[in-house]
Amino acid sequence: MLNDLLYRLRSILRRRMVEDDLDAELRFHMEQQAAKLAATGLPVAEAAREARLRLGGFEQAKENCRDARGLRWWDEAVQNLRYASRTLLHSPGFAAVAILTMTLGIGVNTALFTIIDAVLLRPIPITHPENYYAVREDRIWTMADLRIMQQHAHTVRELAGSRIIVPTFGETGEMLHGSQVSANYFETLGIHALVGRVFSVRAGDPADSAVLSDYFWNRHFHRDSVGDGQGAGAQRTPLHDYRRSAAGVHRHCAHYRKFLDASSRRPGC
């Protein structure tokens, strides 16, 4: 297998030498044959012709040897490439359209796959996702509802809640993607902070704590220090509607980066 590969590679890379060798080898054979025939009394020219015939034609024999060396696919590929580039050079308009079409097609596919990969294919970034269940509630629920559920749910170890909110940020009141989550949210999912820390029940964080996404932190604070509890960046530009101080920045991850700019906490949960 390896021998085969090396042999073919050598045939391609040292093409000139291989061709010369082949030529010399077959020529030698024809000369020997011609000499043998001439020795039987055949005229020299006739002997040479006969020798060539017996080999099945000089060029044909060479071609068969190239085949046997495994060079045909390579030769054909090179020929096809040459032909293709010639054709494309002759009609630059067509070439441009073709290249553009392919670029567009590949680009769109790559973009789509990136999104689908991040949103659908990649498992959520928690350890042992098989131990988690998601419960969806269609009607609007409050943190008080969650508290009642927490009191009555005995088949699960932890119950954390999250709901979508739209906090506004800065002077312009830019709307953000946000989630309001229960205090035990990060502990339950086992999500750690990239910088600073996430809030937790154990640490007894105040109810107005916030955790920023890596993306948000980068965009608005240019990865400026957020600090533990007293985020300098967050204090300079508070999250207006919620006026929370950022406790930390959570792990760089596509899901959260794309869908949550800030997670904030609601009192009591």
């Binding site: 085969d4 042999y7 080898e25 077959l26 030698f28 054979h29 024999a61 068969n64 046997a68 060396r69």
Partner: protein
């Protein structure tokens, strides 16, 4: 040239080529001559298929080639059995003997 030339059964050319190389390295022309002599002119190897077969065997690593000078001071490409080639030949030879013996057996009975 004798009139009755035998066609080589498919796949036997490789076996015969390897066999001719057991004693010493030979160039293509010598191989074809020797095959003809040994088989008492029974088959003449198609010269057109000789070289592709040699190159194929070289590619498989069963033989290797080197350029040497002949007795008449000409450069020629000599083929030589590799270790893998020797082993391969042994296996193929055994298989061929078995096959031909079995065929002969059946023919004798019938």
């Amino acid at each position: 040239m004798p009139d009755e030339k035998l066609e080589l059964p498919q796949g036997t050319l490789d076996l015969l080529l390897l066999k001719t190389l057991t004693l010493e390295p030979l160039h293509g022309w010598a191989i074809s001559e020797r095959l003809q002599q040994i088989s008492r002119e029974a088959f003449q190897v198609q010269q057109g298929s000789l070289y592709p077969a040699l190159h194929r065997l070289e590619r498989k690593g069963l033989i290797k080639a080197e350029w040497h000078v002949t007795e008449n001071n000409r450069k020629a490409k000599y083929y030589e059995l590799t270790r893998t080639g020797r082993k391969h030949l042994k296996d193929e030879e055994a298989a061929w003997r078995k096959l031909s013996a079995a065929v002969a057996c059946v023919l004798d009975i019938a």
